[in-house]
Symmetry: C2
Subunit: 246 residues, 2 copies
DNA sequence: CGCCTATTTGATAGCCGTCAACCGGAGTGG
DNA sequence: CCACTCCGGTTGACGGCTATCAAATAGGCG
């Protein structure tokens, strides 16, 4: 099935979680939706809203964040194309956090009602949604461990590992290189550190030969050592869910 | 319907998320299960396992935690009776964290297969499961904000607010009193602090008149002030989901 | 060229961790 | 009944990691 609906990406991701049959795939591709373009840094959902549609990221990067009163921000998740940005709003009536685009991005907006209907009528699709939500939750738990119990070097190293693996979709080899889609301030908001300290920490990792940087390009000259420092175990990403690998 | 199956608690909780009909309730109550007793601090699920059953907490308290290599622990969630302790294991093949009992506890173990079957056959039950999982995820996001962006006083105050509200099941009034089900070490593991600093922080909150303590009993002499300090907004708990309140 | 944002760097302060000791209650065994 | 042990809680001294403040540099874009 080679379908060029913008939702093909969503189907591929869901299908990697659980085997969808052709009818399931067709129903997903036929979901009503409209594609919206967002400028870098613009908001998709704001806390307290009751959105009528769910957003699927098609192109670009996005994140979800919460604020405290003094203005500090905590990024609670990071998203790549194919990710559902607010599946939680399918069933919860009120957004408890903000969804924001990182770079400029294309997003498919699907009416809540259509998604709820497909989940109700197609148990396998509902299961795929559930798995997707559970992986999201698993990542959040790892982030909690990261922020709560690791020092700055480990936190940043761990986040870099995760971003690289998720963007690449597989385990990496030495010398891997990628473009970091976020600023140092945003790295800080994701790790519970200040941008100044992120800067020093990146410099420190670079001095140790664990990363190389030119602008926002990041290279891993020694993936094994970086992974060891970060104690990065990709199990929590549940990448190969369908294979049943543990 | 007054049923005294141990699972009645689960039904009540799910029914508070979405209106179940009598057939749904009956099917839930008829789920095969066996009730197991756990001594305080014993493990229910260990990271890396592939459990065949899901655990529903009936009596007592439990938490989920992850470890880093140096032995530090991060508690990623806290659970009260009626909570599903590892719904994520319904669909993910490998536990990515540990589930442990806090106090001595009774737990209903339900086979994965039976839960998956009921979710597949009863869309409303599946939806209730999904809502329950999303609320879990929402709490994890708030914890991430707590640990990443609040200082020790706020973190501890926020956690105390959450525990009190969840144990009581509603918004509190001034003078509320409850028994803290965890040690100071565990409070530390939940907030990313050391037990020593938890001790000092509790003492500090007490000195400010925000809490009173005798052994593990905690009282809120000034709920409004405590809530203000913690910036505690119970929205993220999605308590009154079914009413649609925001 | 000038403005604006992101990055970089230095100096200083403070929150919280670490280490160590002591206390107190609960349970155990003599 | 009392001594002992153990765990959880309490307290003090000290150090270090990270925040804060401030300023300089670099890069992107009009």
């Amino acid at each position: 099935m080679t379908d060029h609906s913008p939702l093909a990406l969503l189907v591929r991701k869901l299908n990697s979680h659980v085997a969808l049959d052709e009818t399931d795939k067709r129903a997903l591709l036929d979901l009503p939706h409209n594609v919206r373009y967002f400028k870098a840094a613009s908001h998709i959902v704001r806390e307290g809203e009751r959105p009528g549609a769910c957003a699927i990221l098609l192109k670009g990067f996005a994140y979800r964040q919460k604020l405290v009163e003094n203005g500090s921000r905590q990024i609670v998740s990071f998203h790549i194309p194919g990710d559902a940005l607010d599946m939680q709003q399918l069933y919860l009536d009120c957004a408890d956090h903000n969804v924001q685009v990182l770079t400029e991005a294309d997003v498919a907006m699907i009416p809540r009602s259509a998604l709820r209907a497909i989940a109700r009528e197609r148990p396998t699709v509902a299961q795929a949604f559930a798995i997707s939500a559970q992986i999201d939750a698993s990542i959040a738990r790892e982030w909690l461990l990261n922020v709560g119990r690791r020092d700055a070097r480990q936190r940043v190293a761990h986040l870099l590992c995760e971003i690289a693996v998720r963007m690449d979709g597989q385990v990496l080899s030495a010398g891997y290189e990628f473009e970091l889609p976020m600023s140092q301030e945003q790295l800080g908001d994701a790790t519970g550190l200040t941008p100044v300290h992120i800067n020093r920490t990146l410099k420190c990792l670079e001095g140790e030969g664990l990363i190389k940087r030119t602008k926002r390009m990041v290279q891993f000259p020694d993936w094994a050592a970086l992974r060891r420092l970060a104690e990065f175990n990709p199990l929590y990403l549940h990448l190969s869910q369908q294979t049943g690998a543990c």
